[in-house]
Assembly symmetry: C3
Homo-oligomer: 215 residues x 3
């Protein structure tokens, strides 16, 4: 299924790179999702469910769409336990959830967004998607889990609510796609894309940047 023109060694290196970014984002998004679910007064299992959906929803959507089934979240032994344990620890340790400052939630979310837009873009390229589709899939990977969780708890998803959210993910994914197509070192390209997404998202939240809207 893979249309990656590289050697087996290069494909294995990509897989390990995608996995590390995926696992980082999974842990961060599980903590963020569990925090929001706790604040919405869900019970212990509801917190774990929302933590898991936030953490694994975007990556599973990516894997189903690019044809990588069963998704990494189901075949790799680490994703589910990591998401469950991160959600559980968030529930247990942060009982006074109201005390978690909102800038920390924004930071966790921006970091998860950066890691997932990079892993989504590279994995989509490895499965033979064209450049524009890979950038689109990187964005969808990054915003998908949060959108699913928001819909489940009856809120408008951040991707629609927050200015410069999908834009940040699209920037990161585009940097990865352009860098890989130019043959630059993949680890550097992934880090650059992730940091650019994180930076733009945090900067825009800090400066309250707005996109135009219809009045």
């Amino acid at each position: 299924m893979s249309a990656n023109p590289g050697s087996t060694a290069s494909r294995d290196a990509d897989k390990s790179l995608v996995r590390r970014f995926d696992l980082g984002a999974t842990a961060l998004f599980a903590v963020e999702g569990a925090t929001l679910a706790g604040a919405a007064h869900l019970d212990l299992f509801g917190v774990i469910v929302i933590g898991c959906v936030t953490a694994m929803g975007g990556g599973m959507l990516r894997d189903v769409l690019i044809g990588a089934t069963p998704p990494a979240a189901l075949t790799d032994p680490l994703y589910v336990p990591l998401a469950v344990v991160a959600s559980l620890l968030t529930f247990v340790l942060h009982h006074p959830v109201g005390q978690i400052p909102s800038w920390l939630i924004t930071g966790l979310d921006a970091a998860g967004l950066g890691l997932f837009c990079a892993s989504g873009a590279l994995k989509s390229l490895d499965f033979g998607l064209a450049a524009i589709s890979a950038a689109f899939m990187g964005t969808l990977t990054a915003v998908g889990g949060g959108a699913m969780s928001s819909v489940l708890i009856g809120r408008v998803p951040p991707v629609l609510r927050v200015d410069v959210y999908a834009v940040a993910a699209l920037l990161g994914a585009t940097i990865v796609v352009v860098g890989v197509k130019r043959g630059l070192p993949k680890t550097a390209v992934m880090l650059a894309g992730g940091v650019a997404c994180f930076g733009l998202r945090v900067l825009s939240a800090w400066q309250h940047w707005n996109l135009p809207r219809i009045h």
Copy 2:
């Protein structure tokens, strides 16, 4: 994967027919989705996201369910740019969105519904689905994108809210399935299904036809 008993030439003709109906529906649904998102005061990127989800959600759901992954929306170079540009133009050109008459929105939606129920039914038959499943998938292709968008912006989807909506898509898809099974010319069958769906939907909106409900 294809169980279409026809020749390669016939399969290529089907693919090109499905693609033309898909692209027409994609453009129409992007304009409709972007209009609704603009009216809901989403920002520029939210409008593009909702335009894309409305335009490509149903077809991607169809492709994932029939096993045609990656979906046409990700492998064909036209779907994403078409949905993005149509959403962007809707945002830029129709600033006073309130002035778009509701009958025009209903008409755009009915036309997209007609095109997608036909393309969904034919593509599902080409992937070996039985008649009743292909009619079901044609309906799901037509109503899926709108339902996803409605859920994202916190509204009840048209398929549940509007009388004679899924019925119109089911009629169109059934005409395509019966016509193809009888060996009638596919272009004619697709046009007949699309027009029947469009006609029934517009007629029922105009005449305020209601289905029974429980009081």
Copy 3:
């Protein structure tokens, strides 16, 4: 795709077992979904749509995620007619929906939950998923359709709202996974898992058991 180490005969026996549990859950969830949709004053087609989504959504999600596409709900000639007829009969026969006692809805739902957590776990094992992922998929199969329907009609899904809901499904799925891995007879294991899930769910509803939550 199947990584089941058993013989062809054993795989066919599994398939028939999964199918019987699937069909039972499909009928039960269609009746439950149609009842809730009727109570929400949806029209005839809305009731059928919600009945079908509740009945087939979880199984289709399972099949797409484990790579069994097209899903059984689309290739088996019984699923769609069963879901449609069960929804239709519910609409026609139970006009005074308010008279259906809530304990009956809870019972139908618990029975569907039990059947689906067992079929989801066994089918996931047959497609080569590891034990923990198969238990996770059994839970997702059981709670998926109800969650989709709730989101469509604008309610918080039972899996988040109800105490000891996902826990019951996880218990049933875990029993199936452990039993199959130990080589116990599959029919007995499936029945044990289904009954355990049903029993825990009904007991917790009757006793108003609560999980901890953050205040």
